[in-house]
Symmetry: C2
Subunit: 350 residues, 2 copies
DNA sequence: CTGAAAGCGCTTACAG
DNA sequence: CTGAAAGCGCTTACAG
């Protein structure tokens, strides 16, 4: 671990020597101080140029007891939703002069604990984390107690009391279901995810809210749990359509589940958007390009990432922790995978 | 930029004081030296525990003039191919005790130059980069000349002489086209990408090789350039089928182009895999779940990333640069988007 | 087996 | 306007 010494780079001392000044002066020109005479600064700049000087931020940070590195721990980078979240965080960080140390935990809580340790040792200024399923909260709290700012994003660790930024899953799922109800559906399934996932519980809550607001009784049998993946979605929709009294539509835990469900429907000769309506969640890039294009709910993923970064940056700057979860807005995007139920269309035509 | 000083963590000195030893001794137990007596080590360990000590790797690295941070610069993280590549690199790095500093350049050469500078200043041990289109090679060479190991991955910067690891694009595209020829196609298009992209040129070369090996004359009109995206693929296939004498099949620059092409075909009432064959490249996660499932070429993306990481790690450890590009294998995955041409099937049936 | 000292590349008062 | 000195948290010879 760690590299052996390499041909060493020029230091501030080398510059000072070449420019005929002290290293304090070099340091001053480095920070653009007005204290140093124009002519001297030119000389120093010239020396840097000549020696190919590169600032050693690590050394500076050690001296200043600070850091401009931030840990970014992502639960599943292969999931396009998290990819976009990571990109949002990364952009915001660079824009603020910070740089992200990446770890992809792949939903493995042990790996998460390990990388958290590495990142902590690295002396980062803070950590943004989308916690893996079954996260070890203790590790996170140990780090937080040591004084390191941490913000959780996307997945709420309610027990932890850690600052949280996420999208409004409940409201988002509510508008999704209301869209379907507005179209004339009354028997609506919920596909994918597990009740062990906070996000799923929040989305299911929105689903139930919409049903009850419209006087539709909730039927547990219309919730089909599955892995939050394409193949999970396929399996979930299968159990739905095999029901004695199947629904005419379903909202999905996320877009991958939705896409998988649509494939499975088509395999069964059922056309999504005509014979059966599907609504996703997340608006991943694939959603707009799906066949049929997917109706879905977006939580403005990239902006959400940026928001999480900003909350962390504020914390690092010494701001008090936000007193409540920071919840981003959610918006329905109607495309072609949802439509009035077939019976309804027939009726209208008649 | 940079955080203000925070409640400072315990240092080796605090530990030494509490354990009643010198800081040298603490450092020794930190590196598990056998020099220190068991009883002393216990005392030191206890003190660390009591003070919640966290090793400051940055300080250690400064002293040792080395680093265990590696820069990972990705040209387009939102593209699932690069996501998987990044995950492969990241995994290999952690496994070796290194940690990746991430930058997503989004194909913006200016952004690439900027983040390269940040990463360089951060004192990384080396850099793995999938160069953005129109990369500024000079920046890369400046950094390399300063003695920092760099490996390019996926996109060859031939002029740079930098170590390169990539997949065998030419061989991969050759087997893709030969698969189509074997199925009975003779008029085959190439969809997506631009000749300004090294990867596209390599793939087109494989396309031409296969054609000429089978006595099919290459027709420039059968190459439709487009952005390497889903919508690019849609546009490219459109120009193809609008040709007076359209092809019966096409290989695509990558899977996103292929998926976009299939959508467009379906919009035109043409069924991919029955009326028109499509072969992709990369085997992104979406490929297997596409409708129809996509025949494609894989370059074992994740392993390729790991390979790139290992080449860099070797360089960091002082190994000489590989004398030739490191080219990973490539494999055809036949799924349902390719089949014999319709005419052929008719003929067989007759 | 353990301690005192020097030094990694910086920054920041403090003098002058 | 510029220089000498101390110190950030470590490690590594070198003594003892």
């Amino acid at each position: 671990m760690g590299a052996p010494p390499r041909k060493s780079r020029a230091t501030i001392i080398d510059i000072a020597r070449l420019a005929g000044v002290s290293k304090s002066t070099v340091s001053l020109v480095l920070k653009n101080s007005t204290l140093v005479k124009a002519e001297t600064r030119e000389r120093v700049l010239g020396a840097m140029q000549a020696l190919g000087y590169v600032y050693n931020r690590g050394a500076a940070n050690l001296r200043l007891a600070r850091s401009n590195i931030v840990g970014m721990v992502i639960s599943d980078l292969m999931n396009p939703f998290f990819t976009e979240l990571a990109v949002g965080i990364e952009e915001a960080l660079y824009r603020a002069g910070y740089v992200p140390l990446l770890a992809n935990t792949g939903e493995d809580p042990e790996r998460q604990t390990r990388v958290l340790q590495s990142i902590f040792e690295q002396g980062v200024a803070g950590i943004v984390i989308s916690p893996s399923n079954r996260s070890d909260v203790a590790t996170l709290l140990d780090i937080a107690r040591a004084g390191l700012p941490i913000v959780t994003v996307t997945r709420r660790l309610a027990e932890s009391g850690l600052p949280y930024v996420g999208q409004d899953n409940t409201a988002g799922e509510r508008i999704a279901v209301e869209h379907l109800i507005g179209l004339g559906h009354r028997r609506i399934g919920f596909l994918g995810g597990y009740a062990t996932m906070a996000t799923q519980r929040e989305r299911v809550a929105g689903y139930k809210e919409a049903l009850s607001a419209h006087g539709i009784v909730f039927e547990p049998i219309l919730i089909a749990e599955s892995p939050p993946t394409r193949s999970g979605g396929g399996a979930a929709v299968k159990t739905m359509i095999d029901l004695p009294d199947p629904p005419t539509a379903a909202v999905c835990f996320n877009d991958m589940v939705a896409v998988g469900a649509i494939r499975e429907l088509s395999r069964q000769g059922i056309r999504a958007g005509r014979d059966f309506s599907i609504v996703g969640f997340d608006d991943i890039a694939e959603a707009a390009h799906n066949a049929p294009p997917l109706t879905t709910v977006t939580g403005e993923t990239r902006q959400l990432g940026a928001e999480a970064a900003h909350v962390l940056l504020d914390l690092i700057a010494g701001a008090p922790a936000p007193s409540a979860p920071v919840i981003g807005p959610t918006r329905l995007i109607v495309r072609e995978s949802s439509a009035a139920p077939a019976s309804e269309r027939t009726r209208l035509r008649a």
